[in-house]
């Protein structure tokens, strides 16, 4: 009796509070809408979540670090506990980074958590982008959200780079010097921009403070804004799902946010946090004490940036030398400009791809069922080529380590990579497309004739057949449920003229779809099922006759 009374009272308090809040800010409507948002289950849908959670870990650990870090380049004499630097001249920024590492309780762990989660943030975001790309999740209505996600990825790189340079150690200083060189390589405006950024000649006395402002205010604020847009759009568009029985472009199959996904996602946050903690406890990252404070005169061998900047460093390393020339009295450093241009073009292609594909297909329908990569062979092949191009640039950033660790000649490693940068994406394109088409044909084969069962039967007239097991109806969805695109023809416009634009579009359409494998039709499946049934009858008869 008393139990129910307390329960009632509690309920009364909760209901009362809920009512209080609802009457003032109308939270019920939001909760009703948002709480019923459906999330489908698939591991690949969690990659974006991983990026989000590592960003939260970044905010938490970063806040801790701001309590102790001092972004000043004023010269001090180090008098901390790290013996090999005792008495050395260094900037306050570097000294306070050393103090965080050696003297602040939990400081080194927090630094390592912060750095590892930064690497994870960009990696998870990148992998999430690849998932979205290869499953065609960027198609209408999600093109703009792809662009927002792309901006987030670039902001992630910016956040990483500005943070990487803050400790003012030799390694990050070397990296900053490369950036300075790249900026100065831009004709006409380069030297001015460099001077503006560094407040005079490199390295100056302001860059750490400026990067710090960017790193803890502007860049994270922008990331938060774009993250908010990204998530609002995610709610607006509803989630995508993989094709299966009952899943259509007009519905969404999964579990609601409240209460299932709140619990799941909340738990997953702690798993991500836990794994970061685990790695940060056992593995050193960026041992700044090994590098010493920044001094423009020494340059260390084996200087690499963090992985997400690696592809840009690789582009610089792979650029052929001797491309410099004079235009009037201006030096044009193509060995710097070429990698810069190639990187920017690559980024632009990534950002604009959804619009390009939409132009090629002319498809104005909304798509909520994801493509299996094989069912969009040319897109998948383009993706594979892009990944390969990026990967070669990425590997290019460690030419020296590849040479020393695998006992090869640096020059030959470099040459191999220069050639690979052009050849391998083409190879990747061709091979991937062929694999996709082959997999599509295999799907078709399974849809029509079923799986080989391995059961060999001899019919009364002596013929041997292998019995095929028809795919069940649920599995069939996956095999046949995809859009069929055919190459479009260049059509004349109202003036009866075929424009160059129309011709280009027809050419692109043919490039995409000329050898596409159409989905297996219901009629074809039924006809084959009938045929299979006849064989099965023959088999049964034969078995009975034997008895």
């Amino acid at each position: 009796m008393s139990n129910t009374a307390t329960a009632k009272k509690k309920n009364g308090f909760l209901a009362g509070t809920a009512n209080y809040v609802d009457e003032r800010v109308g939270v019920a409507g939001v909760l009703k809408e948002f709480g019923r948002k459906i999330f489908p289950d698939h591991w690949s849908f969690m990659l974006g979540e991983v990026a989000l959670y590592s960003f939260l870990v970044l905010l938490l650990s970063g806040t801790f670090l701001t309590f102790f870090f001092q972004p000043s380049m004023t010269d001090v004499i180090y008098n901390g506990v790290y013996a090999p630097l005792k008495g050395a001249h260094m900037s306050i920024a570097y000294a306070s980074s050393l103090d965080i590492s050696f003297e602040v309780r939990g400081g080194l762990l927090m630094r390592q958590v912060h750095h590892w989660s930064a690497l994870l943030f960009v990696a998870a975001a990148g992998l999430h982008m690849l998932r979205v790309f290869f499953t065609g999740a960027f198609r209408k209505p999600r093109e703009l959200n792809w662009v927002v996600g792309f901006v987030l990825f670039v902001l992630g790189m910016a956040a990483g780079f500005t943070g990487y340079s803050l400790p003012d150690d030799l390694l990050s200083g070397n990296g900053l010097r490369i950036i300075d060189g790249m900026i100065k390589g831009v004709p006409f405006i380069g030297t001015w921009i460099s001077s503006l950024l560094f407040g005079g000649e490199f390295p100056g006395h302001s860059i750490v403070g400026r990067l710090y402002s960017l790193h803890i205010m502007l860049v994270p604020a922008l990331i938060l804004v774009f993250l908010a847009i990204h998530l609002v759009m995610l709610v607006l568009h509803k989630h995508t799902h993989y094709s299966a029985a009952g899943r259509k472009d007009s519905n969404i199959v999964g579990y609601p946010l409240m209460p299932v996904y709140v619990a799941k996602a909340g738990g997953f946050f702690f798993i991500v946090f836990g794994v970061i903690m685990l790695i940060a406890s056992f593995f050193t990252i960026n041992p700044i004490w090994n590098y010493g404070g920044y001094d423009p005169s020494p340059v260390s061998a084996g200087t690499q940036p963090d992985w997400y900047i690696g592809w840009l460093d690789g582009a610089l390393r792979l650029a052929p030398s001797h491309l410099e020339f004079m235009a009037g009295n201006v030096t044009v450093s193509m060995n710097i400009l070429l990698p810069l241009i190639i990187s920017l073009v690559f980024l632009a292609l990534v950002a604009l791809y959804p619009f390009f594909e939409n132009w090629v297909t002319g498809d104005k329908r909304e798509h909520h069922v994801l493509d299996r990569p094989r069912n969009a062979p040319v897109r998948t092949a383009i993706g594979a080529a892009g990944v390969t191009f990026y990967a070669v640039l990425w590997a290019g950033a460690s030419t020296d380590l590849i040479a020393t660790n695998f006992k090869m000649s640096l020059n030959q490693v470099l040459l191999t990579m220069q050639v690979s940068l052009i050849i391998l994406p083409i190879v990747a394109f061709v091979v991937t497309k062929r694999i996709c088409l082959a997999l599509q044909r295999k799907d078709q084969e399974i849809a029509l004739h079923g799986r080989e069962s391995g059961r060999i039967v001899r019919l009364p007239h002596g013929e041997y057949i292998e019995v095929h097991e028809a795919a069940n109806e649920y599995d069939l969805f996956k095999l046949v449920d995809y859009k069929d695109y055919q190459p479009t023809l260049a059509r004349p416009n109202a003036q009866g003229k075929i424009t160059i634009r129309a011709r280009m579009r027809a050419a692109a359409s043919s490039f995409y779809f000329k050898d596409s494998v159409s989905p297996t039709t219901q009629t074809a499946i039924e006809a084959n099922a009938h045929h299979a049934h006849e064989i099965e009858e023959q088999v049964q008869k034969a078995i009975e006759n034997q008895k």
């Binding site: 005792k86 994870l120 030799l170 050193t284 041992p287 090994n290 200087t303 940036p305 020393t404």
Partner: protein, 266 residues
């Protein structure tokens, strides 16, 4: 259908969980292995040379070195003369296993040492007796009791561009390289600075005083004997191995978990 469902339910316990455990296990074993680093070995100083030692050295020289360096160490088309290279040179090349060389290439490789300390000392005495040359550096260079801070600074200015700021080595052109210094003895490092073997420039005593060489060695010995405060150093190679672990270890582990979580609800 029922069978399929059962099968998927079973997956949650066995194979996928197994993959995660296997992965964690491999990660632990792999990193544990690399974490174990061999302690550096100190070599005793070469003894004063008697005539007998020089004779013994000559005998060893004739049977092990003369085929390339010539019967009187005058050099051949395949190898340089050793007259005037000094005892330090013989000690450096032979006590690190670089000599006798196994094959000609861009650079002599460090190999298991082929001779005992007595034999090396004898050969050094013989080559030293041919003409004056750099002697094996004494305690003033190798004591390791210098100023590590100053040594670190000198190291970054003079050595880091080839040997890396953390002494992990680096690549040079056409297959040549600056070796890692994490397992080099004080004597080897001092000899290398004095001699400038292979592609290394000479740092003579006017360039870096014996005390400064001692400082550099003190700094390197600090790095050799102190492991990172932050856990395993991942080979000390910096962002490349860190990126590798971030992708394969960190993200890989998390993806393994997502697959496990995803499999549960199917």
């Amino acid at each position: 259908m029922q069978i399929l469902k059962k099968k998927l339910n079973g997956l949650r316990r066995s194979p996928k969980a197994l993959v995660i455990i296997l992965f964690a296990g491999l990660l632990a074993v792999g990193t544990g292995y690399t974490a174990v680093s061999a302690a550096m070995s100190a070599s005793p100083q070469a003894a004063s040379h008697s005539a007998a030692q020089v004779t013994y050295g000559k005998k060893l020289f004739l049977s092990n070195c003369a085929s390339c360096h010539g019967k009187n160490a005058e050099g051949t088309a395949n190898a340089p003369t050793l007259i005037g290279v000094g005892e330090a040179s013989v000690d450096f090349q032979v006590s690190t296993g670089r000599m006798p060389g196994a094959a000609s290439g861009p650079q002599l490789q460090v190999k298991p040492v082929q001779f005992t300390n007595d034999q090396i000392a004898a050969m050094a005495a013989y080559v030293g007796s041919l003409a004056t040359g750099p002697a094996i550096p004494g305690i003033a260079y190798t004591a390791g009791n210098g100023d590590a801070q100053k040594g670190g600074q000198l190291f970054r200015i003079n050595c880091a561009m080839c040997h890396n700021a953390a002494g992990q080595g680096g690549a040079l052109t056409e297959g040549k390289y600056a070796p890692a210094l994490m397992h080099s003895s004080a004597k080897t490092i001092a000899e290398a600075m004095i001699l400038g073997p292979q592609n290394m420039p000479v740092f003579n005593d006017a360039n870096l005083t014996p005390q400064e060489k001692n400082d550099i060695i003190t700094y390197l010995q600090y790095l050799q004997t102190h492991s990172s405060a932050g856990g395993d150093e991942l080979g000390g190679l910096g962002p490349v191995t860190e990126g590798l672990l971030a992708w394969l270890g960190l993200l890989g582990l998390i993806i393994a978990i997502t697959i496990w979580l995803g499999a549960k609800s199917n």
